[in-house]
């Protein structure tokens, strides 16, 4: 039981716990907090894997921007606890089993293709420099496209959220 393995299990447990509490919590704020927990845990896993830049971005964007937006909206709409309606029998009975089945399938696939999967390479730090080289040379067009995407998203958000008067 080496140190990385211990850390992995701790973080994984935290993540799964967060995800589950995201489901069981009644109040959206608490769900959001649990989701933040998951994200932080994931960031820790990224660090453990040596992808420090991604970890930082994960925290900054997901934690610092997206989830803040969520909490904002929740506060703005002053959302209360969710009401337990069950209009959709299908979702009520078939939903969770199916999700479980899906997970099972994926897990089985992974176990099955375990041979094909490379054994873990030693944690090597991906230097931010080489990442940026990749981003700005090989993937430069997608990158530029994302900037357009974001612009569009901003406009869309403004148009949607402004009170029509």
């Amino acid at each position: 039981m080496t140190a990385p393995l211990v850390i992995f299990f701790v973080l994984a447990a935290v993540a799964v716990f967060g995800a589950i509490s995201l489901i069981v919590q009644k109040h959206p704020i608490h769900s959001a907090l649990s989701l933040i927990l998951v994200m932080v845990a994931l960031a820790g896993l990224y660090l453990l894997m040596g992808a420090e830049f991604v970890a930082a971005v994960q925290i900054i964007v997901y934690g610092g921007a997206i989830m803040v937006l969520f909490i904002f909206v929740i506060m703005l709409l002053n959302a209360g606890e969710e009401e337990r309606t069950n209009f959709s029998k299908l979702a009520m009975y078939a939903g969770v089993p199916l999700a479980v089945a899906m997970t099972g399938l994926i897990a089985a696939a992974i176990v099955g293709s375990n041979a094909a999967m490379p054994a873990r390479a030693p944690e090597t730090l991906t230097s931010t420099r080489q990442l940026s080289t990749l981003l700005f040379q090989e993937f430069v067009y997608p990158f530029e496209l994302t900037s357009f995407l974001i612009l569009v998203a901003i406009l869309g958000a403004i148009v949607l959220a402004q009170r029509e008067n």
Partner: protein, 100 residues
């Protein structure tokens, strides 16, 4: 030395939980969170593979995913605000005009 399959399995589990959130919760915002959770799970798999293959491409993809997620969150939450304003409710089961 953590085997890659551990990471991937974890991401599978998280993904499944995301699905559960999606079909199980009724609050639009929470459902949206479920989507984010799934995205995160996928990211985890990406990073795990890119690390174990020793290629940073996967991490670049993760960056893209995050960007898209940000855009999606902006627009999606805008829509949610509108919906809540118009129907005075965040419960998806009360938003059921999408039928004959």
């Amino acid at each position: 030395m953590v085997p890659t399959s551990y990471y991937v399995l974890l991401s599978a589990i998280l993904f499944g939980l995301g699905i559960v959130t999606f079909v199980f919760k009724r609050n639009i915002i929470t459902i949206f969170m479920g989507i984010e959770l799934m995205l995160n799970a996928v990211n985890l798999a990406f990073v795990a593979f890119s690390q174990s293959f020793g290629k940073p491409d996967g991490e670049v993809f993760v960056l893209f995913v995050i960007i898209v997620a940000a855009a999606e969150a902006a627009v999606g939450l805008g829509i949610i605000i509108l919906t809540a304003r118009n129907r005075k409710s965040l419960n998806v089961e009360r938003v059921d005009l999408l039928k004959l």
